[in-house]
Each structure stands twice: as structure tokens, then as C-alpha cells.
Amino acid sequence: MAEAPTALLTTADGRPLKAALATAQARARRRAFLLVLPLLAFVLLTFLIPIVYMLKRSFEHDGFASSAPALVAWFKSNPDFDPMNPPEEAYAALVQDLARMQVEKTTGIAGTRINYSVPGSISLFKKGAREAASLTPPFKESLPALDKEWARPALWRGMASASHVYTAEFYKVALDLKLTDKGWERGQDNERIYLYLFAKTFLISAIITLLCLLLAFPVAHLLATLPMAKSSLLMILVLLPFWTSLLVRTTSWIALLQEQGVVNNMLVALGLLDDSGRLAMMYNMTGTIVAMTHVLLPFMILPLYSVMRVIPPSYARAARSLGATSWTTFRRVYLPQTLPGIAAGSLLVFILAVGYYITPALVGGADGQLISNLIAFHMSKSNWSLAAAIAGMLLASILLLYWLYDRLIGIDRLKFG
């Protein structure tokens, strides 16, 4: 063009073009933002804020810090004290705080806080607080005389740690570390419940994901290839579980699989099983796997279906005409094209399974409990911080999985439907 490229372009009335464009677009952008505002507010209020609050709770507990000011002050001025042999001033501060707890009725929350890292502390604190007023110096002797637990180095370590409002202690507990006299150490193998349950949860979720994939693949293929009228009917059958209460579905599995249930009764009636040898398919891991596979199956079928629907049948025909057997055609032409659906479905089912609560709670018995049941257990015991720490770890591991997935396959290749 003839115009000098350096000249600033302006609109007819002399405003710079860039500014005019920005104003023109700002209006449209504001309107678009107003449209998504309700959803944004909803997500913020019901999702992001609770998660942030939960994560905060997993680092924060002032149960001891707020009810033992004297001891907190002493810990602060003596950060390098020897927990094996705390001095008389420390005991004096402790006794003073115990007496104060008795008056202010804060023994319970202080004891509970210490109890996380040093089990048995609740009753210890209650007893100590009751007797605190009648103790005489030197407290270094009179308090352990009341209960020798008071001289335990682990307890002093626990109290020193609890004197801070913010702590990583709950994550240490959730990682099966134990506070011993020497500090935080790995617990005995048979005491490592949390990590074991984490591993079990991930393993069961992987099994469920695999089962879902095996069951969903042919169904999704049928859905994608059947004529419209038949595939609509099949789709209704796939979606039917969504319209039934989860509780009803889970309970019907109990009716089917329990020891006096339909399946066992039939096997016994057919003479395949002895009456005394009924299969235990409910209230154990089998029950959890069977019921959860059923509940999560649609989440695998739908992404698979959405991918398979758009694969033209001519690909398979082309492969066949080029000389491939039906198995080679499936393996080398059809399957690779369904990968985005397999990945999306697997990710969806796996993540849902890892956090599943209601089904394992109902049908899992003692053996089939997952990590979410443990979180619920701690919440019911008002161990909010520990529950939050386990939930935080679950969240972190799922984010890690998501990140890995993005690195390996790419989030943009996901197809959910």
C-alpha cells in the first residue's frame, strides 16, 4: 500500500485504531463474562473455596497452640531443647497450662491435637489437667510421678510440634510416619495402614478400569455400528443406570451377590455349589469391584462411543481389501483410532474410582474399603485435619496422574463425548 507503514492508523474520527478496537471488543468481552459469571461464582463457592479450605485445614490446627500459651512461649524461646530431658521451666509451664485448660475446659481439644502424633494423649491430658492444681514443685518430678508418660520424649516432641499452628504433621501421619522418642520414623510394616490403603485403592481402581474397558469396548462398538433405531434402544439401556438411584443399584447387587442371594441360591440349586460352600461375593473386595465396575461402566462406554461413532467403516474395509485379516484390521487400524476414547474413558473411570465412597462403604465389608472410606471415617471422628491431609494427598496424586497423562498422550486428545 501507498501509506507509510510507520504511520499510526486511526479511525475516521481520529482515535488510534488499536484503542478503538480494544473498546469495541471490551464490550463484547464484558457481555461474555457476565454470561459465565453465575457458573464462575458457583464453581468458586462450591468447589474451589472448599478445596482451598480443606487444604488449609490439612496444614493448620490450633487446638494445642491456643490452649497452652505458657508452654508455647517456652518452646518459642527454647527451640533447641532436649526432648529426652526437658528442664524444670518447661514442666512448670506445662503444669500452669494444664491448670488453665481445666478452668477453660480446653483439655479435650489440646489432648486431641497431641493425640494425632502421640496416641493415648487425650486421657493423659484429662488426668493431668484434673490434678494440675494440686501438684507441687519441682514439677519435673511430680508430673511424671502422676503418669510416667509425661516424661516421654515423643510426647515432648509432639507438644513442641503442636505449639505451631501450621504443621506438616498430618501429612507425616498420612504417610505412615510414627513419632517415636527419637523423632519421626517409618512405622512397622503391619502398622502402615494409610499407604497400604492408598496402594490398594489405586490397584482396585486399575482393575475396575480394565474391567470397564473390556466390557465397554464391544458395547460401544455395537452402539456405534448398529442402525439408528436399535442403537437408540441400546443407548437407553446404557443410560438407564444414571436414572436409577446409586443406592438402589448398589443394594440390588447386595441382593444378587450376598451369601443367601440370587446368584448363590441359583448355583446351589443347580448343584454347582454345596450349600456350605456358598461363594463370598459380597462385603469383600469382590463385591466392591463388581458393584463399582457396574456403576462406572457408562463413563467408559460414552467416550468410547463418541470416538467410534466417527470412525468411518471404510477404514476397516480398506484394510480388508489391502489383505489384512479381521484381527489385523482390528489391531492395526481400528484400535489405534479408538485410543483417544480409551484414554478418556480410562482416565475418567480411574479418577472416579479412586475417590469412590458410597459403593465400597455399602458392599465392601472390612476387606473392600478404599481410601475415601478412611477419609470419611476420620471426618466422622472429627479428625478434620488428618482427613484433609489424606484427601490432599489423593488430590495431589490425581493431579500428578493428570499431568503424566498430559505429558504422555496430551489432554487435547481427550474425547469425552
Binding site: Y315, A318, A319, R320, S321, L322, G323, A324, T328, R332
Partner: protein, 366 residues
């Protein structure tokens, strides 16, 4: 229009019938022999059964009745992957998750061919379609015409004796389509393969084929070389389907040998060649190509009957002038004139007389 099975037939359909629902026949008693090295086109409107025939030949559909033979062997029960027939699909069907090279390697790998031999064949096939530089591209990175070439190369890379093409040029624009028609024809000639080509584009069928089978209603209406098909249609369906065509309905007044004198409903007499309406007093549909209609008396044979016409509209089309005429009471009669320097200029409303050589007007079934 059936044809006796040829003894040298490379592909033969013998009394083939096909029904999808058990109620109606999509293909009705098909008999067709295709010679070795022939380029045969199946032409017809959609739903005429041509694609079904191709799918039966490829092995994706089974014949409800009859035999399909390839090189003298009945292949009704042979699965598609054992037929060794190359196929080019309408949407190319290039595997999107493989590169061009992998797409071409696929038919060779499933045949257990070694790597060196494979590479040589792939290179040869890609060079054949001038796509040698594209082996590492994905199909999605290629244009429609390039994908078409790759699809062609893939169908040819394993040296099939027979190649089927299912409307392979349907998705290309006009210019590219015409170019590819030429290339496919050229490949057919240089490789000496047999091609069965399905299309609904009559221009494509006429330019490329050795013979064209015109399908309608599950039957072959006419099987003939392109020139015969255009100039000597055997029934009114073929006459109307191939090229532009004027239709005049009338009754046969006189019949001498092949010459017929037809009286139109409005009373005029016209000349025609009796084709499949050969009964004196019978109804007939006379078909005349627009470019064979003459309005200058010196161009008509002596004694030819002429008919009154009124010019309705002249459409300028560059190489030709298209005159829409009112003839025998209806105004859809078309005459094409070459746009030459000395061409008589007609104006709307002008009254003229039109006529034609008797052999250009074909008296067909009504």
C-alpha cells in the same frame, strides 16, 4: 441388456441377485463379463445398485443368488482379504494414524514382505503418482488431490490384477477431477490392470472407460463403449441419463426398415430411427441430441421433415449458443449452435424451422 458370458472373462457376474431386506431386490439378475485389462465403468443414479455390485465384487457384501467369478474361479465364499483386489474408496480411507509411507507399507506388511522389497515397492508406487516426497507426511497434512493420489498408490502398491474404484474423484473440484481422470486412465493403460470404476458422473464415465454399464433399478440398462452409449442409446432411460436430450412423444405412423415416421400429439410429422419401439401405431418417445438439431435447410438431408419452432431464449455459453425453442406446444426444446464467426444470430420470438438426420432421432420406448 444381458450379455453371454465371454470365455476370456476376467471378472464375471452370472445371474447375480442381491437383496438386503428379503423383500426387494437391489440387484436383479446381473450378468456382466469384464475382460482382462478392460476399464469398465458402472454408471447410474444413486440407489441403482452399482455400488452394491462393486461391494459384492470386493467381498464386503455377499450375493443373495448367483456367482461371481474372478479369473474363472468362483469367489462367492472368498473373504475380502484373500481376493487380492485393490480398492480406492470415495473418502480415500487413508489410515489417519499412519504416515503415507506406513499406509503404503500396510498391504505389503500383511503379506509378509521383507523390508527392502517393501521400500522399493513403496517408492515405485509413490513415484508413479508423483508423490515421492510425501512418504513421511500424515494424510491430514495433504490436500484432497494428494490424498487421492496416495489412495491410488496404496491400491496399486501390492500389484493387484483388478482395481475397484468407488467414486474416487467425487470430493475433488472440477479442474482437479479432470486432471485425475486423465492420470487414472494413463495409469490403467501403462500398468495393464483391469479397472472397475463406479461413478454417477456421466462425463467421467464417457472420458475414461472402455465400456460403460448404465445401471438403473438394479439392472444394466445398456453396456456399450462411450460413443455408442451417447450416440445410440437403446432405451429412453439411457438417452436421458447420458447427456442432454430432447424428448418428443408421438405415435409411429409409418415404418420402413429402420426408418420411422412419427406423428406428434400436435399433428406434426418427424423422422426417426426405430430402436426399441418397432410397432406401427405404437407410442414412442423420440430422443434427439441438442447439438444434432439443425435450423438451416442446407444442413438437412433432402426430404427430411421439418417442424415449426419459435425461439424462446438464447443463452450465451461461450463456446456454444444454446437456443431454447418452443416446439410442438412445449418450450423445453434445446438446440446447440457452435459460436462461429458466421453463425446466424437468432432473436427471441423469431420463427424458424428445425430438422435433423433421421439417424440422430431415436424412437425409443415411451
Amino acid at each position: 441388456m444381458t450379455q453371454e458370458p465371454r470365455t476370456d472373462a476376467f471378472v464375471a457376474f452370472e445371474h447375480v441377485q442381491k437383496s438386503y431386506d428379503g423383500v426387494t431386490l437391489v440387484v436383479k439378475d446381473l450378468n456382466l463379463s469384464i475382460g482382462k485389462g478392460e476399464f469398465l465403468t458402472m454408471l447410474g443414479p444413486s440407489g441403482s445398485g452399482k455400488t452394491t455390485c462393486l461391494m459384492m465384487l470386493a467381498g464386503f457384501e455377499t450375493a443373495t443368488h448367483g456367482e461371481i467369478k474372478l479369473d474363472g474361479v468362483n469367489i462367492n465364499q472368498v473373504p475380502p482379504h484373500k481376493r487380492g483386489i485393490g480398492m480406492v474408496f470415495q473418502n480415500y480411507a487413508l489410515f489417519p494414524h499412519m504416515t503415507v509411507g506406513e499406509n503404503l507399507a500396510f498391504p505389503l506388511e500383511v503379506r509378509g514382505m521383507g523390508k527392502d522389497e517393501r521400500e522399493a515397492k513403496i517408492k515405485r508406487a509413490l513415484d508413479m503418482v508423483q508423490m515421492g516426497a510425501y512418504a513421511n507426511r500424515r494424510p491430514a497434512q495433504l490436500s484432497g488431490g494428494q490424498q487421492q493420489r496416495i489412495a491410488l498408490a496404496r491400491a496399486l502398491v501390492f500389484d493387484p490384477k483388478l482395481v475397484l474404484m468407488d467414486e474416487p474423484l467425487g470430493a475433488l473440484d472440477k479442474q482437479l477431477r479432470e486432471h485425475m481422470q486423465f492420470e487414472i486412465k494413463h495409469l490403467h493403460e501403462s500398468l495393464g490392470i483391469t479397472v472397475v470404476y463406479v461413478t454417477h458422473d456421466q462425463g467421467e464415465a464417457l472420458t475414461m472407460s472402455d465400456r460403460v454399464a448404465v445401471f438403473n433399478d438394479g439392472r444394466i440398462q445398456q453396456l456399450a463403449p462411450p460413443a455408442d452409449l451417447y450416440e445410440r442409446p437403446e432405451n429412453s432411460f439411457v438417452a436421458q441419463f447420458i447427456g442432454e436430450n430432447n424428448k418428443l412423444l408421438g405415435t409411429i405412423e409409418e415404418l420402413t426398415g429402420d426408418r420411422a415416421l412419427v406423428r406428434l400429439a400436435t399433428g406434426e410429422l418427424i423422422d426417426a430411427t426405430a430402436v426399441n419401439a418397432r410397432e406401427k401405431g405404437g407410442k414412442t418417445l423420440v430422443s434427439i441430441r441438442p447439438e444434432r438439431v439443425e435450423f438451416k435447410p442446407e444442413m438437412m438431408p433432402p426430404g427430411a421433415h421439418t417442424i415449426d419452432a419459435e425461439v424462446v431464449e438464447i443463452i450465451y455459453m461461450g463456446d456454444i449458443l444454446r437456443a431454447v425453442l418452443k416446439v410442438a406446444g412445449s418450450d423445453g426444446f434445446v438446440m446447440k449452435m457452435r459460436n462461429t464467426l458466421g453463425q446466424t444470430k437468432l432473436t427471441p420470438g423469431q420463427k424458424i424451422k428445425v430438422g435433423w438426420h433421421p439417424q440422430d432421432a431415436r424412437a425409443l420406448d415411451p
